[in-house]
């Protein structure tokens, strides 16, 4: 066989294959990519058990459907899925006090694992719900949880879990809103060194015939996301 033809043909096949892989990769990357990250805003410093640290703030919300949040005006592909908002990609500074406020708009019932009905890993082991300081909530009225965890090797351990009390089923829709008035949950924790963590909800609020951890629970961008300490 003509050597030059073979070389050209072989090279073209390899390039063609690489092109197919690249294009598929681009499509899948877009499909599975997280929305743009939300960075915590740093405002002043705070005195903590580990000395005076920068104080960073994040504001999140949970919704009973995807009409709010990062899924576009029509609610995206799954308008009926529960979701966190405004985005699932979160960024906070290292060695800081981080205060997160979550507006919890969703209802709920009994959580599968009562472990997550207790506040874990926050400063003082507490959170405030609508101004009241609590260390846990009733396992039978949990809406969602906000649980940060990850691979502890090569980075500082970080485990924070906060239950978000459920909004009552019969709560009236608030004026100028699509949803009832939310529970406002606030909690603070101290970050260590830089690291890549994840967060997810531990209240089974997704689809699936079994254990309700499918659908929104099993799709990054809805009830789970990344938590970058940098």
């Amino acid at each position: 066989m003509d050597a030059r033809r073979t070389l050209t043909g072989g090279a073209l096949t390899v390039l063609g294959g690489a092109l197919v892989v690249t294009l598929t990769g681009i499509v899948l990357h877009r499909d599975g990519a997280e929305a743009a990250a939300l960075s915590a805003t740093v405002k002043g410093t705070a005195a903590t058990s580990r000395g005076v640290l920068p104080h960073a703030f994040l504001k999140l919300a949970t919704y009973p459907d995807s009409m709010a949040g990062a899924h576009g005006p029509g609610g995206g592909v799954h308008p009926d899925w529960v979701t966190y908002g405004p985005t699932s990609a979160l960024k906070v500074p290292a060695h800081s006090l981080v205060t997160i406020t979550i507006d919890q708009y969703d209802g709920g019932e009994t959580i599968t694992n009562p472990y997550f009905a207790t506040v874990r890993g926050t400063v003082g082991g507490t959170m405030t719900v609508d101004g009241k300081t609590l260390t846990k909530t009733s396992p039978d009225a949990v809406g969602h949880t906000f649980t940060i965890h990850a691979a502890p090797s090569n980075q500082d351990p970080l485990f924070v879990s906060v239950p978000l009390p459920a909004v009552a089923e019969d709560a009236p829709v608030a004026p100028n809103s699509d949803y009832p008035a939310p529970h406002v949950v606030t909690f603070s924790f101290i970050t260590g060194g830089p690291g890549e963590y994840v967060w997810n909800c531990e209240y089974p609020c997704g689809d699936g015939y079994y254990a309700k951890f499918g659908g929104a629970m099993s799709s990054r961008g809805y009830m789970s996301g990344t938590f970058t300490v940098s």
């Binding site: 472990y115 351990p157 879990s161 089974p204 951890f213």
Partner: protein, 263 residues
């Protein structure tokens, strides 16, 4: 194939040369086998266990020894195959473009080789089995002696949690263990199947919904070790990890008390 024409005297010579070359072949293959065996043994002694890292329990020590012993035992067998293969490529390869012009010797079988091969591989197989059974026995009794401490392990989609029923029900997202104290894990799952894996302690058992499985260990090394999930359990399987802290007895009591438990 193309017929060969050989005269009787050439045939005679060829037979003699063949006899000579056969002995030389065997000698050289054996030499090659010895070299490859030594290389394999050295690899077996130093590589697999080292890649697994320093063990944190007698169980893991036993597993690393198993890896080493099996590697060393496999080396001479693999070396037979590779020595013949390598030698055939170096010496018996037909050089030139077309097909070989003559056929090789019509060697249909060789009873000693077959008997020896099957006998040796059976002996090796029995050895592996006996070794494994003995090792299994020592693993099974590792933590169940000397009044072990019970730790409940719960797998939940993507987070491990622990509680200490004998110690006032202390709950934790990380595992704390006193050094040299036998411990039995009662492992269960709240949803799908997970697998509780303390890597450097060499223990692993699935967490099943509605069933309690057990595994036990005696941690004998102070330090922090990785706990992972070894069964695909959905979205964040990769991040279903936490730490096992092996601390002194006093340190453990202190930790329990700080978390509302008792020793």
């Amino acid at each position: 194939m193309r017929p060969m024409t050989i005269t009787t005297s050439m045939d005679h010579m060829a037979t003699r040369t063949r006899g000579f070359s056969r002995r030389r072949d065997v000698r050289q293959v054996v030499a090659l086998w010895a070299v490859l065996t030594v290389l394999g043994v050295v690899f077996g002694l130093f590589v697999p266990a080292r890649l697994m890292g320093p063990p944190a329990s007698p169980t893991m020590r036993g597993i690393e020894d198993t890896m080493t012993v099996f590697s060393v035992a496999a080396a001479p067998v693999a070396a037979v195959v590779w020595a013949v293969a390598l030698y055939s490529l170096l010496v018996w390869r037909h050089k030139g473009a077309g097909p070989p012009e003559t056929d090789g010797p019509a060697l249909r079988t060789s009873r000693p080789a077959a008997v020896l091969w099957i006998l040796l591989s059976s002996v090796l197989c029995v050895f592996l089995l006996v070794w494994g059974l003995a090792e299994m026995g020592s693993v099974a009794t590792a933590g169940s002696r000397n009044n072990p401490m019970v730790v409940n392990v719960t797998g939940n989609q993507w987070v491990w949690t622990f509680d200490y029923p004998d110690k006032g029900g202390v709950q934790s997202d990380q595992l704390y263990l006193p050094v040299d104290q036998p411990v039995v894990f009662h492992v269960r799952s709240k949803d799908v199947i997970h697998s509780f894996w303390v890597v450097k302690m060499g223990i692993k058992v699935d967490a099943n919904p509605w069933e309690v499985t057990q595994t036990s260990v005696v941690p004998n090394k102070l330090g922090t070790f990785d706990i992972r999930c070894a069964e695909l359990c959905g979205l964040l399987h990769a991040d279903m990890e936490t730490s096992a802290h092996v601390v002194s007895g006093a340190g453990f009591t202190q930790w329990l008390q700080a978390h509302g438990g008792h020793a």
